[in-house]
Every structure is written in C-alpha cells, then in structure tokens.
Symmetry: C2
Subunit: 437 residues, 2 copies
C-alpha cells in the first residue's frame, strides 16, 4: 500500500481528524442502528455515524451496491465480495474526505447522526460461531492451574485447537448478562453436585473474525487464500462460568459454561482498515515444531498477524457510585497469538467444513507472556486463589453482580491515524430467582 | 389418548393401510420436495407424499395455517405453536381418512405424488445443532477403550453431557459424504503429525429432536414443560473421523472430526405421531444417583422416553455388485438412553441458553447394553481391533469408500399401525485429491 501524507486522511468532519476519537477517515467500521423503527446499516466517522440506507437513497453510492447497503444487515453486502467491499469503502472515503464537492458533502451531512444518541444493533446475522484457543500463553497458564505436570497437551503446537460455540446467544455490546445457574462438582466424591448461580463468572478477551466469503462443503480454503474470506473484526467477550466448566467439560468440551452469552462489539472494522497494522506471525520459539504444510504460507508468516493493543477494564457499582473511572485489569496484543487468523481459517476448512457468510471465528482468550497480560480472571487470580485488589478497597476473585467489563482495542503506527475498535462492554445482572427456574 | 379400533386408522389410499409401508394415516411425517423448480412442504402417506402447498392453494386447509403451509420450510408452521400443529394434523388426518367426502378426496388426490419419483429436500432451517452423549452404554464402551481404569467420568450420571455441533454441514439423506482430510497423532512422541484422508471413518446412530418453540435468553424451560417445545424427530448420522478426533479433542472436545458432515432423515415425525410409543425413562440401576431436581419430573419418568427400535445397515460396492441386500450391523432402542429428551432440553436451557425454532438436539450414539447393540464401528470393532466380517468375505474396521450406511427406525405396539421413521442413508465418496486441498 502506498504511503500517504497525513493530510490524505483529512475529513470535512472535524471530529474525524481528532486522534482522541478512534473513528478517523481510514477506519469506517460498519454497524447498524435504529432509526424511526427500522434497522439501517451505517459506518462510524469521528463521533458520528453515517446512515448507509440514506446514502443509497440519496444516490451517493454506486448502483451495484446500493440495494445491499439498504438491507438491515451486512450479510448481503458481504455476499457481493471483496471488489464490492472495496468499491463501497472507496466511495465513502471520497465522500467524507475534505476535498469532496460541496453538493455531495451536504447530502452526506443530512445522513449523519451522533453516535452518542444512537441505539446500536447487531449488524451481522451470525449463522455459526467457532471459538479457538490460539494463545499459547493462555493455554499454558490455564493448563498449569489444572495439570501442573503437563500444562500443554501434545497436540497444541500442531493443531489450532477449536470448538463450536453457540450462535443464538451472541449479543451486541451494552446488553447486560444474567448470571447463569449451573451444576457444579460435588464437595465430596460421592456427594450430590451443587446447582445454583455460578460463583466464578469470568470474561474472556477475544477477537472475532467475520467470514465474508463462504466455501462449498468439501472444498478447503488454502492458508494462502484465507485472507480474502475474512471481512472484518470485532472485539468479543466469551463469558465463562468456571465452576460449571470444570465439572461439565470432560470429555466433550465446554457447553453450558459458555453458551449463556457472548458479547461482541457492534462496530465491525473491515480488514482493509487494518492493512497498516499488519504484523508478522509470532515467531515460534526455538525447538517448536514447524506447522504442517497446510498451515504454512510465507506471506502469512510475513504479515498474517495484527498489531492491535488490547485492554480490559472493570467498573464496579462502588466505583461508579464514587465516580471512579474503570480500573485497568490487563493489557495484551493480538500479535502474541500462536496461530494467525489465516491458519485458523485454513485449519477449520481443511476437512472440507463449509463456512458461511457472517460466521464468527474467535481467537480464544488473548493473553500475553507476562502475568499482567492475562485475558481472563481465571489466569489473573489463579482460579480465584489470588484476588485482585481494586482502588475502592474491593477485591475480586471472579465477577460480582453489577460489575461491568469493558474491552478496548487500539491500532497505532507512525504516520497513520490511530484507530480504536468499537468498545465491547456489558454488565452483570444477578441470577434469576429460583421461582422462574 | 382414547383407544381407537384399527378401522379408525384406515385411509382411502390403499398403500397407507399396508403395514409393510411405514407411513400410515397415524404417522404423517413432514418433509419438503422439489416440484417445478420450487420447494414445497408435504407429508408422507403410504408410498406417496401430499403437497401441502397445493392443499392450501385448493382451500383444503384452515385459513390460519394456510400461509405457513405454503412456505418453503417448516419453521413458520413451527412458529405458530402446538395448537396449530394439532389443527393441521387433524385436518390432514380427516382429509386422508376413508370417510372423507368424495369432493375433498378428489382435490387431495390431485396433490399426491409418488415418493419414489420425488426429490426430497431439507424441510427445516436448522440454526444451531447440539449433540448429547445420552447413552451410558456408548459412553461406557468408548470410555473402556480409552480409559480402562475409569470408563465413565464422575460427572456422567449427574450431567447430560453435550457439546455444540456445526449446523452448516447438516445434509438431508441421500447426499454422499466426502471422506475428510485431517491431522492425526504422530507415530512417535517427537514426530510430525500425519495429514491426509481419515483412516477411521465411522457413523453414529442417533435421534434428532427438532425444537418447535423457542425460549427467550435467560429463561430456562423446566423439565415438566419441555415436551411442548419439541416438534418432532428424525434419524441422524453423526459422521466421525476417529483418528482425527483422538488427536484433536483435548481439551475442548470434538471439532473437525465431526463437522465435515451430519446426515438427517428428510422426514420429520411429529411428536403427536409418537404418543402411542411413549415409554418410561430407562430405570436407573441401584446405586446410581437420583438426577438433580431440575432434571426430575414424575410425568417424564413415567412416559418421557420412546420405544423406537433402531437398526444400522451397511451396503458395500461388492454387495451391490452381487445384488446382496444391505447387511445388518446392529440393533438398539431409544428406550435404552440414560437421559430423556425432556432432561436434555431442561439441562440445555438450565443456564438460560436460548433455543430457537428448528434447532436440533441430538441424542449422541444410541447403543444398547449388549455388544451387538452398539451404534458405531468404534464400539463394534473395538476401535478397529476386531474387524467385522461381511457376507461377501469383506471385512470392515471402519468405513471404506463406496460404503453406504443406512439407519432405520420402527415403532410397533399392539392395536396400532406400525410406523417407520424416514430412512437416513448416505454413501462415502473418496477424499478429494491433494491438488484441490
């Protein structure tokens, strides 16, 4: 990609040029919002959103993509393919650029709404949801807690481990999560298991990749062609009930411990916006095996990962009552993952499994090498054994009712505007009363 | 349900009264077929199918359900709820009964097609697919192969173990399955894993329950109310690649070993047709723990299971060339399951997980107590160690290319016509060539 001078990225919308906002002209993440009882697609720009339905109605968009931009969800646009994605992006970039002619700018201005006052909705219909386990730091640290002798299974460095999640309970950012009930391990070997609200509710900091192009059943996607099948990304919080998980997960994996809710950022950052933040695949430590050929591509090794800084914040009822800002729990980076997105996708389809437009492939918890870069409380508190002290004097082993978890992602590189991914946040509601169980 | 004399079940269609056919007047399973380039809903009767779209167009159906019967899939009809399901069933039973007036009979006759000449399609859009592990005989026998010291994990008798399957690769009966490629365990501890076509392709004999009524996220369905949420059943074959499975499944469960294909019978038997075949829950052996209260209902214990005889047949290329009939591999019965369908559904929603109309809950492999009643080759051949001898002189440890697997289900009880579930069959195609990988 040719380098541009910073002025190339100037918009006529002042807030888009303020680096404090994460939605500059080079970002343009997709979303959906409610307007007059209808769901319209939009892109974020500065502190505003641009209504794509209105842009199409006002003839600001090429005819070939206008109908897809007037759909309620992004799936029809995704189905048009990468050329159409680029065409729309180029059109919107030109329209919002400082050099656009006044007449078009005025029409676009009429399609702007403040994000602050908008109700954001789920922009993508998600048919299937797959969750991976791509952070070796997460897998090792969790493994150490439960299997000190063998933290990593022998397959980890060969197989991008993954499992199927539940698509029906994926929620957009902002919807509160109800603490789930579940079965837990008996206190003594022959005792009855417990059943009640989970006592170890956790978050997991993840990145979600949206599939933008499908593959027919029986036709694998080679690792070298994987990137053209990915439309964009969101932050994702894979809520987890650790006490339920540890009792139910053998031998078929997590189930009710995870499927009660998953939160995604409502803004979908297109892969095109992330080009300047591409990064080499995480170097494998000496002695680690090379990935099998079907997982290897030199282009992917060179630039298949992403330099995205991630942060997790916690805000408790007490913190909000005392007007304290959210507390930073951890920092990590997508670059630290052991497997690249293209490797996850190539592996997923290596047996012919068909991915569909709108499917999510999530990374699994993104933890870095240091203990403070752990992407969940299970790691940060050593499964509750070492509670975290908060500025209020409160402590947390796991999440309490009223706690709000906020995931943030930031992309920074010299000579390019800073992007922030759409925020992913949700608060915990107390469990339902037994009478409704 | 009041007892009827056998003549109460007589249809004017002679084939419907022949007990050799499994689709008597009391069955009326739902399906979909292709006609003049369109997909129409239908029910099976005798050797024919009745086009529901045509019935609605000819004003044979009540107005409140006519539009749903003219949809391409069953989901809109399911969304109308149990009263509408009963209304449609009563209307069709009357219409096909020997006592119907000639004028209506003649209009119905015009909507009949021979099943033999029809192309059957997938009648239900399946949003999510959950697979359980409800046969203790299967779990114990598989456990013995891999963990002789501890065949069953301590959770098995308390938790209906389940995991999420892949909905995108569910296929209707008759579509051949391509042998998948995959990664397999290295031959020696520090060696590279293998990658190629699976050498241990297996079937799994299962029953699928279709969710007919959804529950909102956060609202569990009590075990006593579960049955009203189930619309009907199909046979289901959960194809499995055992070599891929044993290498990938720790710690998050099966993934690529299962998600390349799942075959369902195209005929959906409504729960109403199964009322005469209800059976008590399988009695728990002395010493087994009682299920927790959220999994217990006296009505469910009394009649929450189903008396459905199941059979698996194998037909090889050589058998077909020699005009030999398919070979019976095993026999089992749904009654042998450790958990009832209502318990599976109550458990699935006990944490608030939302089920959607059209979702499948599958039982997992249905094996009986005897070794000959095992529902997969993994059990029948002791993971390939004891190959099965076929009448042709061939042997099978696992499935070969060209093999066809046929699942059948039969319901029999005195004074009631015999039903057979729609057949679930598919053949194995050889793996794709490496050049397309």
């Amino acid at each position: 990609m040719a380098k541009r001078t910073p002025s190339a990225h100037q918009s006529w919308l002042p807030a888009a040029n303020d680096s404090a906002n994460g939605f500059p002209l080079t970002h343009l993440p997709y979303g959906a919002f409610e307007t007059e009882g209808q769901q319209h697609l939009c892109v974020a720009i500065g502190t505003h959103l641009l209504d794509l339905y209105e842009c199409a109605a006002s003839k600001l968009l090429p005819r070939s993509i206008a109908a897809a931009c007037q759909a309620a969800i992004l799936n029809p646009l995704m189905a048009l393919g990468p050329r159409s994605w680029a065409l729309l992006r180029d059109t919107l970039t030109e329209l919002l650029h400082i050099s656009v002619e006044t007449s078009r700018r005025q029409v676009a201005e009429a399609a702007l709404h403040s994000i602050a006052g908008a109700t954001l909705l789920k922009a993508i219909h998600i048919p299937d949801y797959t969750d991976f386990y791509a952070s070796i730091h997460h897998a090792t640290r969790v493994g150490k807690l439960f299997r000190p002798d063998q933290p990593l299974f022998p397959n980890y460095k060969h197989v991008p481990i993954g499992y199927h999640g539940r698509a029906s309970s994926i929620l957009p950012s902002g919807i509160p999560i109800q603490r789930p009930h579940g079965q837990t391990c008996p206190d003594k070997p022959d005792g009855a298991p417990g059943f009640g609200p989970t006592k170890s509710l956790d978050y997991e900091l993840e990145l979600a990749f949206y599939i933008g192009q499908s593959n027919p059943l029986g036709t694998p996607i080679p690792v070298g062609k994987a990137s053209s099948h990915i439309f964009g990304i969101s932050l994702l919080n894979d809520w987890s009930a650790r006490d339920i998980q540890s009792w139910e997960y053998q031998p078929l994996g997590p189930f009710l411990a995870k499927n009660f809710a998953t939160t995604v950022s409502p803004w979908v950052t297109p892969m095109a916006a992330l080009e300047p933040f591409r990064a080499p695949a995480s170097p494998r430590p000496k002695g680690d095996p090379k990935p099998l050929p079907y997982l290897r591509s030199s282009a992917d090794q060179r630039s298949g990962s992403l330099d995205i800084k991630l942060e997790v914040f916690l805000s408790t009822n007490t913190m909000r009552a005392n007007k304290l800002p959210p507390f930073l729990l951890s920092r990590s980076n997508v670059q630290d993952l052991y497997w690249t997105p293209a490797q996850l996708l190539a592996h997923h389809t290596s047996n012919g499994c068909n991915l569909q437009i709108g499917d999510i492939l999530a990374t699994g918890t993104i933890s870095g090498p240091s203990p403070t870069s752990a992407g969940c409380l299970l790691e940060l508190t050593s499964n509750g054994a070492k509670p975290i002290a908060l500025p209020t004097g409160e402590t947390r082993s796991f999440l309490s009712d009223g706690d709000e978890v906020i995931l943030r992602g930031t992309c920074e590189t010299p000579d390019h505007p800073r992007l922030t991914l759409g925020e992913c946040r949700a608060a915990i509601l107390r469990a339902h009363s037994p009478s409704t169980a």
